[in-house]
């Protein structure tokens, strides 16, 4: 797979090859991002594969992934670059005698003393990369404003060193869990992609891709139950990764079907809050009991 895809279908194929099944709009938006050099803003509930999309894109395009995990209080020194002042200090001490100030100054503000942080790494990289800015909604607005310059021009200005421009166009993904409204200015510069929980058939395909040994019938039951659980009002609805984990767990247990008992024993794989457990046992347990009868009738008929 070469670095510049020619069509959305090619991206889709590439993603599939590394184990990520995108829907059509995901493939289309990824393709546009690569083609137009615009960042993608990916939003959606937790656990629908937002971060995984970036990882898989990097893998399928043969690019390095540079990841910046955002958190409250993230600042430029941790995101862009920092001067390694300890090393600078030692340098000054080492040749305190004799050397003129100008000499030393030229010397200590060189690349040697620069600590690259993720954004800088992505810009300065000689090879094209995929830059993932994860959970951008966790940072404050000041940081967002700083990103604007970077995302529109792909360059960083360091006062002592000059301007560093991107030689290659990184693919940039920003993910957000929608805990905070992002600024209009940032949204304007991005392509927008909304990822939701996949449709039943789509998730079935995903589960079958990652747990191919699992019986088709069991896999179908599994995604049906998962979508049932997602419809409940839970603190943390099961993610796609958890569906896959559950499929693997069932495989290990050698389960032939998902009945009320198997479900009760293994549901901690997909439901991880004590109160959620209660809700799920109550609501889905009953449904499973009922569904079993109709299922039995159908297979007998």
């Amino acid at each position: 797979m070469h670095a510049s895809p020619a069509s959305a279908d090619e991206i889709k194929q590439g993603l599939q090859d590394v184990g990520y099944l995108p829907n059509d709009s995901t493939a289309l938006v990824s393709f546009l991002a690569a083609k137009l050099g615009k960042p993608i803003l990916v939003e959606g509930p937790a656990g629908v594969g937002k971060t995984q999309l970036a990882k898989s894109l990097a893998e399928s395009l043969g690019r390095e992934l540079v990841r910046l995990q955002c958190y409250e209080g993230l600042d430029e020194a941790k995101a862009l670059y920092e001067w390694n002042y300890r090393k600078q200090l030692l340098r000054i001490q080492a040749e305190a005698e004799g050397a003129g100030w100008q000499e030393v100054q030229d010397d200590i503000f060189g690349k040697e003393f620069l600590l690259e942080r993720p954004l800088m790494t992505a810009i300065a990289s000689p090879k094209p990369v995929v830059l993932l800015i994860d959970e951008i909604d966790k940072t404050d607005q000041e940081f967002e404003a700083m990103l604007l310059e970077l995302l529109s021009d792909f360059q960083i200005t360091i006062p002592e060193l000059g301007r560093i421009e991107a030689t290659t166009m990184p693919i940039v993904l920003l993910t957000s869990n929608n805990t905070r409204e992002l600024t209009e200015a940032l949204k304007r510069r991005c392509l927008y992609l909304w990822l939701d929980y996949p449709a039943l058939e789509h998730e079935l395909a995903i589960v079958r891709l990652h747990a191919p040994e699992l019986d088709e019938h069991v896999a179908r039951r599994l995604v049906e139950v998962v979508s049932l659980v997602r419809d409940l009002d839970l603190k943390k609805p099961p993610s796609i990764a958890e569906s896959i984990d559950w499929a693997r767990a069932l495989l290990l247990l050698g389960a032939q079907d998902i009945d009320a008992k198997v479900f009760r024993d293994t549901m901690s794989v997909i439901v991880k809050h004590r109160t959620d457990l209660d809700v799920v046992t109550e609501r889905v347990g009953v449904k499973l009991g009922l569904a079993e009868d109709s299922l039995g009738a159908a297979s007998a008929g």
Binding site: L28, L32, K35, R86, L89, T179, L191, G301
Partner: protein, 490 residues
């Protein structure tokens, strides 16, 4: 213009559609945007703005630069490109979808009328074909396609179905009625129909989404035919509020209240710190500074400070649960529920005639429904009449929490300030508010009704900040107002 992707002809799945498009746009080669289309897209952007989606010029430019990169003559790609460049939030995308369907459907029909393109010629042969068609086979085929979710096949079959069933008897002229009649004749149902033979896909019931989608296609096709017959477009309707309102129940409301309260917590926390930071210097932590200095040869280059502990906000929430605020009480309780999720140092009270502490109820129960039931049952706040008595409530509250209030505490009152003609005891409330550092009043009534009738909010407003608040959006406004500089009344 970048090189064109080679492709085996657009839309090979539905040839009729392609021929229509070719006729409309004069068979423009792929990849170049015909001038007419650009105008259409600009109009579309205008229409989105009309529905409240913020579409800027830069977004439209993005759409134009993105379209030639894909095979935009494919409906899915065309829609996908416009969606990703123009609509940038879940809400906007929902509105985008509604507007897109409406706008391009109308644009195509208008062009068809202008250019005189019509399917009348084909229509005749279709009707004949319809009579020869084995109706039962058609039913089964449609059911199969719905079960498979095959969109383009469904579109074609919708036309066939109208040809086969639509003309039997006179159409009612009302599209909705016709759609339901055709659906019934096709025997499309969500529930299983065990009397049907084994191989019939309808036997196990069809996916409801698929049926709904098929109905939409039927409706579209019927509308198209109607326009073709009368050669006029019906007037455009703006999306009504029902269409665009999020499909929300109380549950999703609960989630949004929780989200806003999480923000509130952050804001309450940081607000206090600013004051503190300006007034007091942080202390140098000598031990950590010495240790750090070893890295630089014993020169203390990096001063290590004792961390400034974020002060923990303490909340006192007092909530009216009387009948005059029944409509808002679910919202109020969900606010309290969410507050309890975020704050550990918090005490909550409910009141009607007298006040009762419910902190424990919230600590024990995590389920929202159980909490509201427990409060309804055991709080014991109604005494004799069941009408709110603010005077008594403030006096009781003062006795209960007076000793615990301090300047760093925040008091939030949720209530409508309707005293039923009783003494408001604003002076007692003033004492409580003065002991707490900040006091806020969230009133579920529109500001217009404040101070009318028995509402005495103005008496309390002198001692606290009052906000109108009965939706999650307004709660968000309240949170925003909290962060605005100088919002704290001192």
């Amino acid at each position: 213009m970048p090189p064109q992707p080679a492709s085996g002809g657009p839309g090979s799945g539905h040839p009729r559609g392609t021929s229509r498009r070719a006729a409309l746009f004069g068979g423009t080669p792929q990849g170049e945007l015909p001038g007419g289309l650009a105008a259409h897209i600009l109009e579309f952007g205008e229409e989105l703005r009309g529905e409240g989606v913020a579409v800027g010029t830069s977004e439209l430019l993005d759409a134009f630069s993105a379209l030639p990169e894909v095979e935009w003559t494919e409906p899915a790609a065309f829609r996908g490109v416009l969606a990703t460049t123009l609509a940038k939030s879940p809400d906007d995308q929902r509105i985008f979808n509604l507007v897109f369907d409406r706008f391009f459907f109308r644009a195509v029909e208008l062009a068809a009328i202008q250019e005189g393109v019509s399917e009348a010629g084909q229509g005749g042969s279709m009707d004949e074909a319809g009579e020869e068609l084995n109706l039962e086979a058609l039913r089964r085929q449609i059911a199969q396609m719905i079960a498979d979710g095959n969109e383009s096949a469904m579109r074609d079959l919708a036309r066939l179905a109208i040809a086969a069933f639509g003309q039997q008897g006179e159409g009612s002229g009302v599209i909705g009625v016709d759609v339901q009649r055709i659906r019934r004749q096709l025997g499309l149902r969500g529930e299983p129909q065990p009397e049907l033979p084994q191989e019939d896909p309808r036997r196990d019931g069809l996916p409801r989404d698929g049926i709904r989608r098929f109905e939409q296609l039927l409706r579209q096709e019927l509308e198209r035919r109607q326009i073709e017959r009368t050669e006029v477009l019906p007037p455009a309707r703006p999306l009504n509020e029902l269409d665009r309102a999020l499909p929300s129940g109380p549950l999703s409301d609960l989630a949004s209240v929780h989200r806003v309260v999480a923000q509130l917590k952050r804001r309450l926390k940081t607000q206090g710190n600013e004051h503190k930071g300006r007034k007091r210097h942080a202390h140098v932590d000598v031990r950590r500074t010495m240790r750090a200095s070893l890295e630089t040869g014993g020169v203390p280059v990096v001063l290590k400070y004792r961390p400034i502990r974020p002060r923990r906000p303490e909340l006192f929430v007092v909530c009216d649960v009387s009948t005059s605020v029944t409509s808002a009480s679910v919202f109020f309780l969900s606010v309290m529920h969410a507050l309890h999720d975020s704050f550990r140092k918090m005490r909550s009270f409910v009141f009607i005639e007298r006040v009762s502490e419910v902190t424990d109820v919230f600590h024990k129960e995590r389920d929202f429904k159980a909490v509201s039931e427990a409060i309804g049952k055991d709080a014991g706040v109604a005494d004799i009449s069941g009408y709110t008595d603010y005077g008594r409530v403030w006096r009781e509250l003062r006795d209960q929490i007076e000793d615990e209030l301090h300047p760093r505490a925040t008091l939030i009152v949720l209530g409508d300030a309707r005293t039923n003609g009783r003494d408001p005891a604003a002076d007692v409330f003033a004492q409580i508010a003065a002991k707490a550092g900040r006091a806020y009043w969230l009133n579920p009534e529109p500001r217009l009704y404040w101070n009318y009738g028995d509402s005495v909010i103005s008496a309390y407003e002198q001692y606290c900040e009052a906000y109108e608040c009965w939706t999650a959006a307004q709660l968000e406004d309240f949170v925003k107002a909290l962060t605005a500089p100088d919002s704290a009344r001192r």
